[in-house]
């Protein structure tokens, strides 16, 4: 026990450098986003008027504090564009997370039921696509879904449709892209809990007369809930802020919040509004992020 104590101090010193790094490059930037979301748009470089400079002392800080403007946030609430894109992001994230759960669960279940030596291979096969580029995977689907793409060719050859279907720039294409990209994130946590499960419990349920379906519903599913939760969070949080997939696959008539932020920043060069959009998105994500943090800590650090 005492040796552990002796170990703890140098280990804590090891944390100093990464601690400072994350404070500077993760924490401080959020402060700056908050600050800029409260400032005015200007046609200049950088395109905003700073509300306060930290070097000017407390008086200047106080004077500046009175000038802080909530205009950008007022704009967010009053303009339909923003509210609609928040709602759309939520709808898309909830819908695709549900689809992912329905598709991912049977796959994870199948993996967990494989003979032991096949499970490792199946896991690698699921992880590999996660390592290949997001952009490439979306591009692969553009290949398939475009006007004279493979899908339309097959459908035409089978006489299932009489003319090519416009798949690209639709919500269907976007959902395919999201499900395709995030599937490993759903399968892996589900598999992790399902593989650990004691099969004797299922056998006991069946011996006591439960049908396989009932046994699944009363025993397997409740026991897999931690994995379900982790999978849902791992998919839901990043999908809400997704930019690349809707930008390349969905139509441009309704935007997700990540696209709106991108548009404000790169096209309209309105940094304060982009910052306000980011803050509002972050506020939306705080509850699931806190849940996720707790889950992750429990998983990585074991029973601590």
């Amino acid at each position: 026990m005492s040796t552990r104590r002796i170990f703890a101090r140098p280990a804590r010193y090891a944390a100093i450098a990464p601690y400072l790094w994350m404070a500077l490059f993760f924490l401080v930037p959020f402060g700056i986003v908050v600050k800029i979301s409260l400032s005015q748009t200007a046609i200049a470089q950088p395109p905003y008027t700073p509300v306060f400079e930290l070097g000017e002392g407390w008086e200047a800080f106080k004077a500046a504090f009175e000038q802080l403007s909530l205009d950008n946030f007022r704009l967010l609430v009053s303009d339909n564009l923003y509210i609609l894109s928040y709602l759309r992001s939520l709808v898309v994230a909830v819908t695709s997370t549900l689809i992912l759960l329905v598709i991912g669960y049977p796959i994870a279940y199948g993996m967990a039921r494989l003979p032991q030596r096949w499970q490792g291979i199946a896991m690698i096969l699921v992880i590999v696509p996660f390592w290949t580029s997001f952009l490439i995977r979306i591009y692969a689907w553009i290949n398939i879904l475009q006007h004279d793409g493979l899908l339309n060719r097959i459908l035409l050859a089978l006489h299932l449709v009489s003319e090519p279907v416009a798949w690209l720039s639709t919500d269907t294409a976007m959902y395919i892209g999201i499900v395709y990209s995030y599937l490993p994130f759903m399968i892996l946590p589900l598999y992790a809990t399902l593989a650990k499960m004691d099969r004797a419990l299922l056998e006991a349920a069946e011996d006591l007369g439960a049908s396989p379906l009932k046994a699944f519903w009363l025993v397997t599913f409740p026991l897999s809930l931690p994995g379900v939760g982790a999978g849902i969070l791992l998919c839901f949080i990043p999908i809400v802020g997704e930019f690349v997939i809707p930008d390349l696959l969905a139509g441009s008539n309704s935007l997700m919040i990540g696209q709106t932020l991108w548009l404000e920043f790169f096209t309209n060069k309105d940094w304060p509004v982009a910052s306000a959009v980011a803050i509002a998105l972050l506020v939306l994500l705080v509850p699931p992020l806190v849940l996720y943090d707790r889950l992750q800590r429990r998983q990585v650090e074991g029973g601590r």
């Binding site: 790094w21 199948g110 696509p129 390592w131 290949t132 920043f265 650090e301």
Partner: protein, 271 residues
């Protein structure tokens, strides 16, 4: 009884097979069509290396690829260093002030939407008056990928048998020496796998690089993205195939490393 189990497992196998087909078919199609001689992306015109030659004559694309490789190599190395230190602090540091904040800062970037991380880092660089280009992208990627490194190395450290460290210290090693001589050799495979993960994540990233790079220093994903927005081009298929080939090589090396690690102890981290 046996029959129901059988039927269930047939259902399982079908789900698994369909799932894997769904994951791999689009990539396989992309790779096959990169060897297509025809200019029309979906009309087969025979096998050819034409689009690969096109890529190797495309200066702007090559420049972007070189930039991406450099950023990935430097940021993965920095991230591995910092992430491993963070993992040691979290796994062996017991309690310390600000521990919850520290782990929160390290875990939340794993799921944080990239638009937020990208925007906030850019605003920091502007506030610091830093010239945007290679180093700003590298710092941004280091910040993101060190969190993945931390998780991989930390889960390896927590699964390790601590009595080895304690034995070394009972035999007269000081903690630092015990760590370097006993623990470090055991977690090296996890560190190697974490470096490769960081490398590929950096190579992949579009959103954060778009925010933090400057004029004239586009990364490969940024170039690919601007080409893809204009439509499908066979040259992009060739680039993507090279990309996939590189990553496959890295994965084979990483799984080799983790096999080494699991033969020395318990199984390696899931990533």
């Amino acid at each position: 009884m046996a029959r129901t189990v059988n039927r269930l497992s047939r259902f399982n196998m079908t789900a698994l097979a369909l799932g894997l087909a769904f994951l791999y078919l689009p990539i396989v199609i992309l790779v096959i069509f990169s060897f297509n001689a025809s200019r029309l992306v979906n009309v087969w015109g025979g096998w050819s290396l034409r689009w690969y030659i096109e890529f190797f004559n495309d200066r702007a694309m090559l420049q972007a690829a070189w930039m991406s490789l450099r950023v990935a190599a430097v940021s993965a190395t920095l991230a591995t260093l910092l992430g491993t230190l963070a993992a040691i602090g979290l796994a062996r540091g017991e309690r310390f002030a600000g521990r919850a904040l520290f782990s929160g800062m390290l875990y939340s970037p794993l799921v944080m939407p990239e638009v937020i991380s990208g925007l906030s880092l850019l605003l920091l660089f502007v506030a610091l008056n830093a010239e945007r280009g290679f180093w700003t992208v590298t710092i941004a990627h280091t910040t993101l990928t060190m969190c993945f490194v931390t998780v991989v190395v930390q889960s390896r450290l927590t699964s390790l048998d601590r009595s080895l460290e304690e034995a070394a210290m009972d035999l007269g090693c000081n903690p630092v020496k015990a760590f370097l001589m006993v623990t470090l050799p055991l977690i090296i495979p996890a560190i190697v796998a974490a470096w490769m993960l960081a490398f590929t994540l950096s190579l992949d990233d579009l959103v954060i690089a778009s925010f933090t790079t400057g004029p004239g220093s586009a990364t490969l994903p940024i170039r690919i993205y601007s080409e893809v927005r204009l439509g499908v081009k066979p040259e992009i298929n060739a680039i993507c195939t090279l990309f996939i080939a590189l990553i496959t090589v890295l994965i084979v090396l990483a799984s080799f490393a983790s096999k080494l690690s699991s033969s020395q102890g318990e199984s390696a981290a899931p990533l």
